[in-house]
Amino acid sequence: MSDAPDFGADRAGLYVLGLLRGEERRNFEAECARDPALAAEVEAWEERLLPLARAVPPVEPGPAVWAAIERATSPRAAAPAPRHRLREIWDNLFVWRGIALAGAVAAALLALLPRGTTGPAMVAVLSTKAGPVFTVAMRTNGALNIAPVGRMAPPAGKVWQLWAIGQGEAPVPIGFVQAGATRLPANDVPARLRRAHTLIAVTVEPPGGSPTGRPDMPIVFAGPLLPVAPTTS
């Protein structure tokens, strides 16, 4: 038997056993987020092996654990209302610093593209406070090419969810970003949001994405769309 992964291996079963580790595990979770059949296989294995977890001797937690949970879930500690958070995003400086960067990227792309080719219509540079993280190029039909600036991966067990936000509008989920280059098909971005200054943002969410349809977690990087050619805006 070789050390290479077995082609017929039941990856859902290996995942539930805890034998997919590190990047392999994160990739598998990202796949589950996109593939309901695979997610269902995982759930079937969780059910099959559950009696083993129930056979482990229970341990009574110390009182501090519940106290901390109660603090974190009490209404006082609740996250700010979505509208406030939205305003925060728009007011956030690092987002708008992306404009200068995106402008530079757009200029560079323009210089490289022969006239008349079907290059991107819009670009965005998604940044954190520390600097640029992803470049986003969008064609007029809404198809997106997203490329990381360095080596990046979402936290273990999480996925990066992508949002488009028009000014004064609720964020619209438009897909998931992979650690490497990501291509998203045309039309995932609603036509009305394919315009300059639509904000493209990324949140860290559980596999499968935000359960509420709104970003549940803080924005980790974001940047506004800017037109590549002056005529497209």
Partner: protein, 172 residues
């Protein structure tokens, strides 16, 4: 069957704090037992338990009774959280040599575990041990190989074959 756990999770979807408290009362000891077994560090395990309950609270709406039991959903959350920790932090090596055979028939709750216990019993003993070392103790392929003095490829292959055999047996 599920002692109303599903109903409690659905109440958490409506921000019912009393329902979360009741879920905690019923499930936290089992979940901490599982996490502690995987991590072997009480502080880390309690930390993971806390994160798991916050995740249950926030993601209660993702629970879907049609897709699986409430108990499996909650145990899954705490196990993946604990495995995240195992990925990011090297844990201390275990001192005890033998792991108790937790899958011995009397060790598994009868109401839902008999089928699994029966099927585990049909596996060769070293295969069964590898399944338990991974699921319960959180050992990786290479840790199991070192611990059982078995070549890595053989470990991988036996575990894959154990999964196939268990699935077939449980579907009968």
């Amino acid at each position: 069957m599920e002692d109303g756990l599903g109903l409690l999770i659905e109440a958490c979807q409506r921000q019912d704090a009393a329902a979360l408290r009741e879920l905690y009362r019923r499930m936290a000891p089992t979940m901490l037992g599982v996490a502690l077994r995987l991590l072997r560090d009480r502080l880390m395990a309690e930390d993971v338990l806390q994160e798991a309950f916050l995740q249950i609270w926030r993601n209660a709406s993702r629970f879907d009774r049609a897709r699986g039991s409430a108990r499996a959903w909650m145990i899954g959350i705490v196990r993946y959280r604990a495995l995240d920790r195992l990925d990011s932090e090297r844990r201390l090596p275990v001192t005890g040599d033998e792991i108790p055979d937790i899958a011995a028939e009397e060790g598994i709750p009868v109401e839902d575990g008999r089928a699994l216990a029966g099927c585990l019993a049909t596996l060769p003993e070293h295969w069964r041990r590898m399944v338990l070392l991974s699921y319960i103790e959180g050992y990786s392929h290479s840790e199991i190989a070192a611990r059982t003095d078995t070549p890595l490829g053989t470990v991988k292959s036996w575990i894959v074959r154990s999964l196939d055999a268990l699935k077939r047996c449980l579907e009968q």
